[in-house]
């Protein structure tokens, strides 16, 4: 029944249904109370909301909206321009980087130039196995031999050296020597 009352208030009941409800309302006090409550409820819900809010400066509101729209138009224009130019700039930047890299490589890389002598480093020898190749010498290779590098690193390992310490002279590029037969560790600068 309550739903009929609600719809009656909204004017959504057909004529026949509305007449039936009216007849019922005439004799049913509880139903009349429901009608009163729902009717009052709608009034309370709308109270204070029927009119537009007071004190609004509509000219200022319009100006703010216009400013927001203009900002949006400007930003959209910038974004579009950025989209158009981004690939061009990216391509130009990539070309410039490639050019600089190629020039640097040509300057640095000169085939046949002897490798500079490297600094002396200390190498801690943890173990020596298998024993030295040849008399009083160990041979190790660089990890990444490159043109100009000394392909083989000759390490002194005479019996007179203090136990576990080998002085090695590394020529060419820096890089950890690959241990052959013995381990190395904690080599600053390598």
């Amino acid at each position: 029944m309550e739903i009929l009352v609600s719809q009656y208030l909204d004017g959504r009941l057909g004529q026949a249904e509305a007449s039936r409800l009216k007849r019922r309302l005439a004799v049913d006090g509880e139903l009349r109370e429901q009608l009163r409550l729902y009717s009052r409820l709608d009034g309370v819900l709308k109270e204070g909301y029927a009119d537009p809010p007071a004190g609004v400066d509509y000219d200022a509101q319009r100006a703010e909206i216009a400013a927001a729209v203009e900002r949006s138009v400007l930003l959209e224009g910038l974004a579009r321009r950025r989209l158009v130019f981004r690939p061009v700039f990216a391509a130009l930047a990539a070309a410039a980087v490639l050019l600089v890299a190629a020039s640097a490589a040509l300057l640095v890389y000169k085939p046949g130039t002897p490798a500079p002598t490297g600094a002396k480093i200390e190498v801690a020898v943890v173990s020596v196995a298998p024993p030295a190749v040849g008399a009083g010498q160990l041979t190790v290779s660089l990890v990444r031999p490159a043109p100009g590098d000394v392909p083989e690193l000759v390490m002194t390992s005479d019996d007179d050296l203090p136990a576990g310490i080998v002085i090695a002279s590394v020529g060419g590029r820096e890089g950890p020597p690959e241990a052959s037969g013995f381990e190395m560790f904690g080599l600053p600068g390598i």
Binding site: R12, Y38, L41, L45
Partner: protein
């Protein structure tokens, strides 16, 4: 602002939309002037707060400008705009209700449980007045609406406060007209229970 120069009166909404789409900002400004009061009134009815309503209206007009190209029936600018206003308002209201719930939960967790009752006013308050103040009653109504399932609350607000046709509400909420009727009834019933001492 050269493009603002041409704001000839008497042009239809459709003509103004077409001009705005060509980049004539004056045309859009005229659309704002024409519909801002109604848009603000609608947002206010749905939000119950003037500041929120003004922000929502600005957001809605901006959104409508950005989406203007998607408006297929340009003569229907006004209902389309009001729908955007309603949508943005209801979203704002949902966010507001969520924040309020979270802050109440935080208060309750902090031991301030008395306030967990949503500050329900006492209809038989010690002042001797039979009814709580209009301000308190309004607060209770808003909080009760915010505590409802979203579809119920939205159907009620759009139908009772915004006085939108049920068919349009059904389209907005993505449900049938019958469902709208049911949601409105359920929401009214709930409010009637909560407010029966004040009605």
């Amino acid at each position: 602002m050269d493009r603002m120069a041409d704001d000839r009166p008497g042009r239809s909404d459709q003509e103004l939309v077409v001009s705005a789409l060509r980049g004539e900002l004056a045309a859009f400004d005229e659309l704002v002037r024409r519909h801002q009061k109604q848009a603000t009134a609608l947002a206010y009815r749905l939000l119950g707060n003037t500041d929120d309503a003004l922000e929502v209206v600005q957001e809605a007009f901006l959104a409508s400008y950005r989406k203007l190209g998607t408006l297929s029936r340009q003569e229907r600018f006004k209902p389309w705009l009001l729908r955007i206003v309603a949508n943005v308002s209801l979203n704002r209201r949902r966010g507001r209700a969520l924040r309020r719930t979270l802050s109440l939960e935080a208060m309750a967790a902090g031991g301030d449980q008395d306030r967990g009752e949503l500050n329900r006013p006492d209809p038989h308050a010690a002042t001797g007045e039979q009814h709580a103040s209009a301000h308190e009653l309004r607060g209770l109504i808003e909080r009760t609406i915010d505590g409802m399932p979203p579809l119920q609350a939205q159907a009620l607000l759009l139908f009772v406060r915004a006085e939108m046709p049920q068919k349009e509400i059904a389209q907005m909420l993505g449900c049938s007209v019958e469902a709208v009727k049911w949601h409105v009834f359920s929401a009214r019933k709930k409010l009637k229970e909560v407010l029966k001492d004040y009605l």
